[in-house]
Amino acid sequence: MAEMSKAKYDHIVCAIRGRPANRNTVERAIELALEHHARLGFHLVIPEDFLEAAAPLMSPARTVFERLREMGEYILAVLCDEAHRRGVRHVDVHVHIGDVREELLEIARQSGAQVLVLGEPDPAHPRSIFTPESFREFVRELEQAGHLTVIAVPPESWIALE
């Protein structure tokens, strides 16, 4: 998980779950991309497990996923604009819908990046899928799966937007 700032990166990916809860993570990824003149990929991961609460559901899941994907693309477009405005030249965006762990592993394996920036889970979050220990273990799993460096950014804190 150690951050190796002396190394030169040309491709950085940033996995997030929307804004503003991931402001620090996005900020760190943009800074890193600027520092290394690297290509930056934003990956928005939308978990599908909350749809289980949708039963009974009278709507086809296919349409729901389309709407979620549209929303994700829109949020990423905002981030993309921000990164461009700050001077990152190559930015690409991707929306993933599914199991968070599986999707993150897939990003690590398939992106071809040298660095994956993601937010540390907040233990105060009532629906967090990680404990601090299981998250550390998962980071090691990600690093091995993708042969990359994982930078875990401390959470801004899980805000209930009071």
Partner: protein, 567 residues
Amino acid sequence: MRPAARMARLSLIVLFAFIAAAGWQYAVAASQSTPGDQFLMGRVLDPQDTPLEGAAIRLVDGQSGEVIAEALSQPDGRYALPITGDLPQDPLLMIERDHYKIFGQELGRDLLGVLAQGGTISLPSITLERQITAAFWIATLVFVLVLVLIATGLFHNTLATLIGVTLIYAVSYIGEHLHEGLYIFDFQRSLHYIDWNVIFLIMGMMIVIAVVEETGIFQWLAFFAYRISGGRPYILLPILMLITGVASAFLDNVTTMLLMTPITVQIALVLGIDPLAFILPEVMASNVVGVSTLIGTPTNILIGSFGQISFNGFLINLTPGVLLAFVGLILYSAYIYRKDLGGSQGASELLLERLSERSRIQQPEDLKKAGVVGAGMILLFILGERFHLLPAVTAIMGATALLVWIRPDIEKMIEAVDWTTLVFFLALFITVGAIQEVGLIGMIAALVGRVVGDSLLLAMLGVTWLSALLSMVIANIPFTAAMLPVVGFLTRTVPGAGSKALYFCLSVGSAMGGNGSLIGASANMVTAGISESAGYPISYAYFFKKGLPALLITVGLAFAWLLIRFL
């Protein structure tokens, strides 16, 4: 295959198994009628004066115990024992039914005389006494277990109810051999509790929704709301709430929020304000306005079918109260989010342009056709009661008309039906049927009846507020399904309740009560999930803080209307 698709296919198989079994059961029942000239007739009731079906009525020889005639009571509790040949000196009428004490009565000499002369006798109604067995406790525990599994989210709702059904069958079929008192009901009996009106109405509406959804109407409407408000949040808020509310009155709340939340997040991003200032009022509006029609919420579909309340019945009796509650909710929402609504950073032109590209009607031709069929369906829902057209039939007719006219990919449309939900309802009916069968519901009904006495006001107060508060913590569909027989009993026994006022109280309480907590309604959970995906999490405490006052305001206003209407 995706787990969801696997679940859907399995659900489809289970659904057809239930339909086939029900058809077979009715065929067997129809073949059991026996012709005869003389009859000993009567009616069997439970302690709540509800007709008792499936009671075994036997006329036996009091000395030898030989059975002279036998029959089963029908759904209206009536029976007709065919009498052929000579009667013994002291015949005994025996009535036996699982979970009731055995009833025995000697037939008097005068009655025997009538029968001997070839006449038919109609006996007074007989009320059987309940018997609490081990099955009572087991069925109760299984129902509580299902509620806990649903509330904790440990299992998918459908799986939770299927576990309940499996336990009930296992105890009935296997446990019966260990101890007689463990028997709850058999498969055939359990099918009696399934309300096929509800299943077919939901299925028909699912197909209609699937067609309408794909047209992009919701994105267009939300963007249209933005345009007519001129981007002013204080004007946009009530318009978005109105769109959500009206959509919820014709679609289920979960679907409405699944479609409205993503586009609302995008509009809020354009304006640079916290999306929760729109999303939370929207979901609360959906829980409130959905109550106004028969098809607006699954709980109303259950209530309408059980209480035989038509589409018009809901419209006439609930709409004024709903409008009152809706106005209260708009004012409340504008007040609690005044800082957010007043703090708009102005629209981002770039984001606005992107949003307008996405917010076009995608299939205008299909939308026109869906509009025509939809209008026809609403007309049939409204006029249908004049010629006894059940809402389920209207829904199936509308769905078929759309499929024939639009000719979408039929495979895609059949996939669009959420079979998992239909199996959830089937399994729920059986689980609730089990506690009805063993007498738990009757016991609760009797208890509530004693507390309420003859006061309609007390009954309305109790049903509305109890269901509203309980809906905050218990899934409102199983709760409503379990409450229906209780409300049915009160409707028969409380003076003045024949107007079905208590069903409307249950409708208001169970749906608007969902606003009190995040877990109070499926629509809340789904909205929170989408919102969190966009980076705007909603905590339980946050929802409770905003939602509880909304519950008190909306239920209070709707209840005030119900009092004006029915007292």
